[in-house]
Amino acid sequence: MSLTKTTAGKTIDIVKNLPRITLANLRPNPGAKKDEKHRGRGMHGGNKSGRGHKGERQRGNRPRLGFEGGQTPFYLIVPKYGYNANHSRRPQYPPLSLRRLQYLIDLGRVDPMQPIDLTQLVNCRGVAIQPLKRDYGIQLIDEGADIFSAKVNLEVQVASEKAIAAVERNGGVITTSYYDPRSLQILIKPVPFLMSGDPIPKRLLPGEDLLPYYTDASNRGYLADPDKVQAARLGLAKKYGYTIPDITREIFFEMLVQRKDPRQIFFGLSPGWVVNMADKKILKPTDDKVLQYYGNMKSL
């Protein structure tokens, strides 16, 4: 059947002969836009103009939010207590379940052939992090540990023991690492930072509260002793009753073993470098003092 005989064909013919779209031809669908009431101009926008009858409401003199007419308000009558101290400064870690991670891998949104870190997860819209709300990264929780079956090189900020076991059982590698708030903002939104032309900063080390967590091998901390991490892997396998697959003979062994330097924010990019996005170049400093400050790191 020729194209012009179908409904779509006839529509195309009509549309081809219509005049060009200009500002004069545009208008919204009927019922899409409702006119706003002009207050103070008679009939139902007028009379009291939606302000009510007399009193503080009409006169615009209502008291502050939370005021209860003189009764001690809720926010003052509830006493402060020690266990709430500094609650708004505590680090928060939005959870990432293994089930969600498996779902993202199944739908092709995150690539298990590359190391999965927070940038990849945010780019595929798998997690939502708000560094300004005291989020310090993500925590891996073990919901979905029984259905998880992907081999990944994962980097999170906190991980539960069962989740670590689930990842390692499938032949993957998991690391927990710390990002200070500035590095975290750069990590989750690399493009605005790289467009700014600032040199990549070096990641700060964790403070005294979090240092014990990241130097502990049972948490797979990035500052822990590699020998102890290996021992912890074996111990966890014994505890949960599985054998660690030998990943040394994997095709993707190089990718699975890739780790960031403790001062590095991005894979392959050293601190101190400036990225020129427009010309697709990287500018590396050569001054001795600058290099010493940024740590003379071999980028890998």
Binding site: R99, Q102, Y103, D106, L107, G108, R109, Q114, T119, V122, N123, C124, G144, I147, F148, S149, A150, T175, P190, V191, L194, Y222, L223, P226, D227, V229, Q230, R233, L234, I244, D246, I247, T248, F253, V257, R259, D261, P262, R263, F266, G268, L269, S270, W273, V274, V275, M277, K280, K281, I282, L283, K284, T286, D287, L291, N296, M297, K298, S299, L300
Partner: protein, 176 residues
Amino acid sequence: MSASVRSMSWTVCRAARVAYRAFNPATRSLSTGACLRTESNPAEGSRGFIESTEEFRFVERLVPPSRIPTPPKHEGPAPSGWIPPSATPPSLPYMIRRSRMHNVPVYSDIKHGNQHSTLLRKIEGDIWALNKDVKEFLLGLTGKEPPTQVNEITGTIRIKGQFDKELKDWLLKKGF
């Protein structure tokens, strides 16, 4: 066993060992800073920096994709429970497309804490036939025929009650 353990110990944590050495200040001087000074062009170095395009591929990895990727092929359900749409659309008078993120477009809603409803979106074809089938299915499930609201223009059906799991499974079984 011990040999493989030893080999694993060396190889698995090789990169971690590099990272550990880099972190430990006593050994930092041992790690080479050569990568940062490989370009030996004196004119460029005199400007205070060197230009390079080798590592730009790492920058390209950081840029988020602008399109939602198509899911890879799975035979049957994926490990996470996601079921791909059947290759040939089912031979029914109606069709229900997948959402942008490749999921079945059935959503549950609650208004004012007590008004439960289920929304079935992206319906094409004979929507009244689907309405009849949905009512039949829910009659068999609950014993009551739930009231539904059909919107022909937007291609949606709103059903009273929360049936999103059951309707999703029913549609997946049909092959949508």
